[in-house]
C-alpha cells in the first residue's frame, strides 16, 4: 500500500519545491538516522549517512514508483550506504579504535532511576552487534529493532527469503551466545 500523503509531497518536490522535500525530510529523518546509527554505531557517521541518504533520494526522486512505499525505498538507500560504509577499508582500520558511544550518551532520555542493568545491557548489545557481519547486522537491526517484515527486508537488501532467514538465524545465535558469555563472565567476577 503506497504512502498517499508522501505521494502528494513527492509530486510537489518533483515540481521543484524544496519546501515539500523538507516536509519529507522532517517526516522520515528520525527513522533514517535511527537505522544508520544502529548499523554504523557512531552519531557523526550516522548523521553523514542520513544526509547522504536524503541527497540520493532528492537526486533520484524522478525514478520513484508509487507502488513501492517510500519508507522501503529509504530503508534500501540507508542500509546500502551503511553496508558500503562498513565494508570500506577506512572503517575496518578504525573499527578497533573507535567503538560505540557510551550508553549514557546514546540513551540520554533514559531516566536516572532506570535500573542499571538495562543501560548496561544496551551498551553491551551495541558492542555485540558490532561483532556481526555487515549483512547479519543489517538484517538484525531491520527485523528485531525496526520491526520490518521479512519480505520487506528481502526487498531492501536484495536477498531472497532464505538468505534473510539464514542471516537472521546466525545473527540471533551470535547475539545470544555473546550475551550468555557476558553474563557468565560477570557472574564469575562477582563470585
Amino acid at each position: 500500500m503506497p504512502d498517499h500523503p508522501d505521494l502528494k509531497i513527492i509530486e510537489q518536490a518533483l515540481a521543484g519545491s524544496t519546501a515539500a522535500f523538507r516536509t519529507l525530510v522532517e517526516r522520515h529523518q528520525p527513522f533514517v538516522y535511527r537505522v544508520a546509527y544502529r548499523i554504523v554505531g557512531t552519531g557523526d557517521d550516522a548523521e553523514d549517512i542520513t544526509q547522504e541518504a536524503f541527497i540520493r533520494l532528492w537526486k533520484n526522486l524522478a525514478r520513484y514508483r508509487s507502488e513501492i512505499r517510500l519508507t522501503t525505498w529509504l530503508y534500501k538507500i540507508v542500509t546500502n550506504l551503511c553496508l558500503d560504509f562498513l565494508r570500506s577499508r577506512q572503517h575496518r582500520s578504525m573499527k578497533n579504535t573507535v567503538g560505540l558511544e557510551t550508553h549514557e550518551k546514546m540513551y540520554s532520555d533514559v531516566s536516572a532511576d532506570q535500573p542499571l542493568i538495562d543501560g548496561e545491557l544496551m551498551a553491551i548489545m551495541n558492542r555485540m552487534t558490532n561483532e556481526l557481519s555487515p549483512k547479519q547486522k543489517a538484517v538484525f537491526v531491520l527485523r528485531d529493532l525496526e520491526d520490518v517484515s521479512m519480505q520487506e527486508i528481502a526487498e531492501v537488501l536484495s536477498m531472497n527469503a532464505g538468505q534473510v532467514k539464514s542471516n537472521l538465524y546466525y545473527a540471533r545465535k551470535r547475539m545470544s551466545e555473546m550475551i550468555s558469555a557476558y553474563y557468565q563472565t560477570k557472574e564469575g567476577t562477582k563470585s
Partner: protein
C-alpha cells in the same frame, strides 16, 4: 523434532507459524539444553525491546535537517541553466553597482583618450581652423596644409622684403596685389 531443529526454531521463533511455535514450546518444556537456548534468546528479546523503546536521536535534529536542506538547495541551484543563474546574479546589488562603476570609469577613460589624441594631432596654425579644415587625424592632409602654409609664409616674407626694397623705388603695387591675392587664398 530433533534438538538441532528446535534450536533453529528457537532462533527464528518470531518467524514460525502458530503450530510450529506450539511444537517448539512443548519440546522446550521437556529438554534442558533447548530451554537454556530459549533463556538466552529471551535475554536478546528483552534487550532489543528496550532498544526499541529508547531509539537513538541526533544531537541536534533541526541542525541535521538544515544541513540536509542546504545540500539539497545547492544541488537544486546547480541544476538550473547557466543563463538563469547569471541573470539572477546580475541583479545582486553589489554586482550591479560594481558593473555601473566600471562602465563609468571606462566611458571617462575613452573620452579622455579621444580628447588627448585630438589635442596632440590637430595643427596649431590658425589657417586650418579658419578654413574649417578637419585634417586633424589625416596626416596627409596635415602635411598639405603645413606645406602650403610654409610656402605662403615664404611668399609673405619675400613680399615684405620687396616692399621695403621697393619703398625707395616705384612698382610696389604689383607686389602688394600679389601679396593680397595670396593671403586671401
Amino acid at each position: 523434532m530433533k534438538c538441532s531443529e528446535i534450536e533453529k526454531c528457537l532462533y527464528l521463533y518470531t518467524e514460525l507459524t502458530a503450530a510450529e511455535q506450539e511444537e517448539t514450546d512443548q519440546h522446550v518444556k521437556t529438554c534442558a539444553s533447548c530451554a537454556k537456548i530459549k533463556e538466552r534468546m529471551d535475554m536478546v528479546r528483552y534487550a532489543t525491546a528496550f532498544q526499541q523503546r529508547h531509539p537513538p536521536r541526533p544531537a541536534h535534529e533541526a541542525r541535521l535537517t538544515q544541513k540536509i536542506m542546504s545540500a539539497v538547495n545547492q544541488l537544486q541551484e546547480s541544476r538550473k541553466p547557466v543563463h538563469d543563474r547569471f541573470h539572477r546574479g546580475l541583479f545582486m546589488p553589489l554586482l550591479r553597482y560594481s558593473l555601473a562603476g566600471l562602465s563609468a570609469i571606462l566611458i571617462a577613460f575613452f573620452i579622455g583618450e579621444y580628447a588627448y589624441t585630438t589635442y596632440r594631432v590637430r595643427p596649431s596654425t590658425q589657417h586650418t581652423i579658419a578654413q574649417g579644415d578637419h585634417a586633424e587625424l589625416n596626416i596627409a592632409s596635415f602635411h598639405q596644409v603645413f606645406i602650403s602654409e610654409k610656402r605662403n609664409h615664404q611668399h609673405k616674407t619675400a613680399s615684405i622684403w620687396k616692399r621695403i626694397r621697393d619703398s625707395a623705388h616705384p612698382g610696389t603695387e604689383k607686389c602688394m596685389e600679389c601679396f593680397n591675392g595670396s593671403s586671401k587664398k
